[in-house]
């Protein structure tokens, strides 16, 4: 019980820090970077649900991120819709497209699935890039509205947008937590560990994999919509494979298949990128080898490293108590 309590306190402390940051610092640039990181974290949670908990590595995630962003952009700029309906519709559109792609993609397994989704991601990118009539091609979409005020709550200042994204992020974390700890989440993990075994104990693997895929595209689409409304300008590059690789790095460094991994990985890499700005486009000289060495030496990332250490210590303590008890028993 005490561990659960301390976990709770740690979580509350982190949330408090996140809430206090805009009040303590007036640096708009950092606030901007932090808000952007929160958006990435949401997308990484989507990817993590599918790759980390269900065992299917999708390389089309930037594509779904792009679909979410473009759905919001097109609905508002070209469709003349106001912000809020478009904001709710964008993830739904992404999810519907994700459902149909998932239906086909999930017929494949392992390497085929990764290659298939890689190609799907590339097709989405090419369509966004080449379909100038709809998406504006390389020129992109300009003038996407930010979130409008909800009644008395104003959402136009930098601080307000930070809190808005933070709220969405906390909701996403809560949702993921509930999903992972539900029967559905356990089915995902069972599929990851051994798909045939999962099937043999009566889990409908196709239904569960599809659910995981659809949920994962929903979070990617949501992150995309948030991104479009936050940056207010989008180009085809946001659906490029490089974004998928970025998300992958965030997930692997933080810890694939862990709940805290996406937050740790994204914040760490974003902060590191800020420190390594002198490297400009060469930052992958550092992050590429980092990705490879983490997957070799600590496959479950930093969060996994901590968990392993924690459980080892706990096991040791337990063993210690047992031997103590045994020696006491021997004396008497």
């Amino acid at each position: 019980m005490p561990t659960l309590l301390s976990k709770k306190y740690a979580l509350i402390a982190i949330i408090l820090v996140a809430i206090l940051i805009p009040l303590l610092s007036t640096n708009e640039y950092y606030l901007h970077i932090l808000t952007l990181s929160f958006i990435w974290i949401i997308a990484v949670y989507g990817l993590n649900l599918l790759a980390g908990f269900t065992g299917y590595l999708s390389l089309a995630h930037a594509g779904f991120f792009g679909i979410g962003a473009y759905a919001l952009g097109l609905l508002t700029v070209k469709g003349g819709m106001s912000f809020w309906p478009a904001f709710f519709l964008a993830p739904v559109i992404t999810t519907v497209i994700g459902f149909f792609i998932g239906l086909v993609a999930l017929r494949t397994k392992e390497h085929f699935f990764a290659i298939y989704t890689l190609c799907v991601g590339y097709i989405i990118y090419l369509v966004i890039d080449k379909w100038e009539g709809l998406t504006g091609g390389v020129r992109g979409l300009i003038g996407i509205p930010g979130p409008t005020n909800i009644g008395p709550i104003e959402l136009t200042s930098a601080n307000a947008r930070y809190y808005f994204v933070l709220t969405v992020l906390l909701l996403v974390v809560f949702l993921i937590y509930r999903i992972v700890n539900s029967l559905v989440g356990r089915s995902f993990i069972a599929i990851r560990n051994d798909e045939q075994l999962a099937q043999s104990i009566g889990i409908s693997t196709l239904k569960n994999k599809l659910m995981s895929f659809v949920l994962s595209t929903f979070f990617a689409g949501l992150a995309g919509a948030l991104y479009a409304s936050f940056i207010r300008f989008i180009g085809p590059d946001i659906s490029n494979i490089n974004i998928t690789f970025d998300l992958l790095i965030f997930m692997i460094v933080g810890g694939i298949g862990t709940l805290s991994g996406p937050v740790i990985g994204t914040l760490l890499i974003v902060v590191l990128s800020q420190q390594l700005q002198f490297l400009q486009d060469h930052r992958m000289l550092i992050f590429g080898p980092l990705l490879t060495s983490i997957i070799i030496f600590s496959p479950r990332g930093l969060a996994g490293m901590y968990l392993t250490w924690y459980y080892k210590r706990k096991a040791k303590k337990k063993a210690q108590i047992q031997t103590d008890n045994a020696s006491i028993g021997g004396d008497s």
Binding site: T108, H111, I256, D281, G288, L291, T292
Partner: protein
């Protein structure tokens, strides 16, 4: 009619390069069951090394290619030793992620050393050859001939030599190969060397008619994946056949259907194939 023949020849040229790249990918997949996402980066490095040797080193084109083969082959072997060997008992996701890490590193390295600019590779074989009413450049003829010679040599090596047979043996049955005393490390290193060499040859041949830039490997590696899925993962004849199928469909598709979306053809082909047959067309059962 002339247009058709011209396009068929173009398809043959593109297909030859695709086949060379896909062959390396399929060999590696055959023995280690790794989809080597970094293969496209080897292809890109191959082009840059040849270019640098020619422009800065002043070597002849063909000699530059030989140097490139050695350099890329060694990088490839190093990659096997440092990255894939330690991961030999791990999950498929780890292989893929590790390969992506190498890909990102090599691309950033090329970006750092050679810059982001598009570069043109000179060739001593720029002459135009006229056969009846058709015009071919020597370079394109060189691509087709070299590719075919390399493929025949590779085939003879795999089928007729003892060393080549160990590669085949290991791709057919890994445990069986261990049992008869095949040194798995040696075979893995050799295969990676061959794969790197093939990528370097493909890139060096095609660069004079295309351009050299850090992300030039992206499309090629994706297409190579499409090819080995068409041809069956791990199958050598499949990779050659698949390469030419894709080469012809692209050159004909671009001329007669839609030129803007030429690059989409491969992916649409793949999506259709995997939709209908999730295991690939010529997949061997149980692998």
């Amino acid at each position: 009619m002339e247009l058709l023949i011209q396009q068929l020849f173009n398809g043959l040229t593109i297909g030859s390069v695709y086949s060379l790249v896909a062959l390396g990918l399929t060999l590696v997949y055959g023995i280690l069951h790794i989809p080597n996402f970094a293969h496209g980066a080897l292809y890109m490095v191959g082009a840059y090394v040849t270019l640098t040797m020619m422009v800065q080193g002043g070597f002849h084109y063909l000699l530059a290619i030989v140097i490139s083969i050695l350099v890329v082959g060694l990088i490839s072997v190093l990659m096997e030793r440092v990255v894939f060997h330690p991961l030999r008992d791990s999950t498929p996701i780890q292989h893929k992620v590790a390969a992506i890490g190498v890909l990102l590193f090599l691309e950033a390295l090329a970006h750092y050393i050679w810059g982001a600019d598009y570069q043109q590779m000179p060739t001593p074989y720029g002459q135009v050859v006229k056969v009846f009413d058709l015009t071919f450049t020597m370079q394109r003829i060189l691509i087709v001939v070299t590719a075919i010679v390399v493929m025949i040599l590779l085939y003879l090596f795999l089928k007729k030599t003892y060393t080549g047979a160990t590669i085949i043996a290991m791709s057919q049955n890994r445990e069986g190969a261990y049992l008869v005393g095949i040194n798995a490390n040696k075979v893995a290193m050799l295969t990676f060397f061959i794969a790197g060499a093939l990528a370097a040859i493909g890139a060096s041949l095609t660069s004079p008619i295309n351009l050299v830039f850090p992300s030039m490997g992206h499309l090629v590696i994706l297409k190579a994946f499409v090819i080995i899925i068409i041809g069956g993962m791990g199958s050598v004849p499949g990779a050659i056949l698949g390469g030419y199928i894709l080469g012809f469909s692209e050159s004909l598709g671009a001329t007669y259907l839609f030129s803007d979306y030429k690059d989409l053809i491969a992916f649409v082909l793949l999506v259709i194939i995997l939709t209908v047959k999730p295991q690939g067309i010529f997949a061997k059962g149980g692998v």
